[in-house]
Symmetry: C2
Subunit: 320 residues, 2 copies
Amino acid sequence: MPEECADAQVEAALETLARRVEDCLFGCLRAPGVPEGLLAAMEYSLRAGGKRLRPALCLISARACSEETRSGEACSDGGCFGEEAERAVLLFACALECIHTYSLIHDDLPAMDNDDFRRGMPSNHKKFGEASAILAGDGLLTDAFALMTRCADAGLPATRVLRAVGATARAAGSAGMVGGQFLDMLYTGDVEVRLEELAAMQAMKTGAMLRLSCEAGALLSGAGPEKTAALASYGEALGAAFQIADDILDVTGDPVLLGKGVGKDAAARKCTYPALLGLEKSRIEAERRAKQAVAALEGFSGENAALLKGLAAYIVSRAR
Amino acid sequence: MPEECADAQVEAALETLARRVEDCLFGCLRAPGVPEGLLAAMEYSLRAGGKRLRPALCLISARACSEETRSGEACSDGGCFGEEAERAVLLFACALECIHTYSLIHDDLPAMDNDDFRRGMPSNHKKFGEASAILAGDGLLTDAFALMTRCADAGLPATRVLRAVGATARAAGSAGMVGGQFLDMLYTGDVEVRLEELAAMQAMKTGAMLRLSCEAGALLSGAGPEKTAALASYGEALGAAFQIADDILDVTGDPVLLGKGVGKDAAARKCTYPALLGLEKSRIEAERRAKQAVAALEGFSGENAALLKGLAAYIVSRAR
């Protein structure tokens, strides 16, 4: 078994997981009683694509912990994670994608980043109007919590699910993602921002939910505090590497390959790593954080841990 | 013990509960790491006052169920509900107020109802700007779920808390409050709306969370399915009576006594009961729904049930 998966393996694994998540995701929200127009706005952004990185991290983390627990044991289904538990974690993973999607819709609003396009398509408010976009975001965020609680009906113990729900709300809330977006707005324009402030803002805005995705997978799999902390550290370092790589790609990336416009950060006068440190030092920092992520999983073996380690390398390789 | 509390008793009880809720509420969100400006925007709207009806319903419902369970038993603390359980339910009750407050902030936004004032003060976006108002709402909604999960740390069983969290997310989400606001926007302006459509919209927009507030109290107190269903029915009928009374007061109310402007529904061409049925038939419908609420609690005795019954009468008496 390889210690760390190669980029091609990582891409293939993410692709497979993304299909699995989407199969579940697109059916999740069709509750009776949702007004048609609202559902259309919510589904539009859910279906707009993306790597489905957060749900993938949640699922792989749950599998990695489960793999560790059972190391040496033969699994009757040939895999490393029981089908029933996997289905329950999948619901939680889909909820994380709903939260991510809501955050994109609200970030694009005219009063926020005022983006007319997202992944090459009109942003939600351009397509459905501002009121619908605000409500589609509110609906996705709220429905995500309903979805999470369904893990318990699907067979996971209520204590585990409740702990994961609490951790998610803290990561997504005013001391996490929402607080990070607030600081990002504050740091945009003619403002001097120190590197520590930028790092803290990014740790909240994107880092908290990437960290949480890994932590939630561990919590839901029933991992103990040590393994859960290791996965959380992995996710935190991965999140930092991911955001710096993203900042770099906004300067150097090919818009066709990326499927989105570049140079937007500089145009909007956003504070970023390349703006503060330059490209070369930013690359070094991204590599350092990716290595930190890999190191956090030192005690883990097995194919899912190898995939997580490979994912950290893959994320910065995009920005090389 | 009276069967149904009089208006003055109801007012005094609501006042006492509101102070208890506010004591807890204003400290709840001061988590480390929340950006100062965001916290200020969230607290501004939380502190703007109001009857704190949803948390009160949650607390009284929990007490009413607990009272039933223990009927005939002497309580050592002289009350009908243990102090430890009451403190845990109080956290949940505060979370319901956070959700209510977020919904007011987002409803007031320029893209939605475009209200510059709320309870005689500038609305959140007038005071802090649109971006901050959107994020303050997002923060309050998300933090509310973190607060709810803290009930388990405060001593309530995880299964009960998780069930109440799921019910809250469904009531507040796209098939509940958010969906109702979407329909309200759709029904505003030059649109013909049937009475059944108006009733269904109001049942989602305000009814779902009032119903949920009672249901959550029952679930958290450990009530069985029959009592929980009775409280939910009470809350549903109360919610309808409340909204019709609110519609009537927007036509007939005294802005000084109400502490808010009147005639706003007609000016905004909102669909309401008085607009569809006229005032007299609207009053009859409000009374009918209030009686339905009282009838739902037929099987309950004790002072908290009497308070809930009195509250139903009190709510429509305002619109007489």
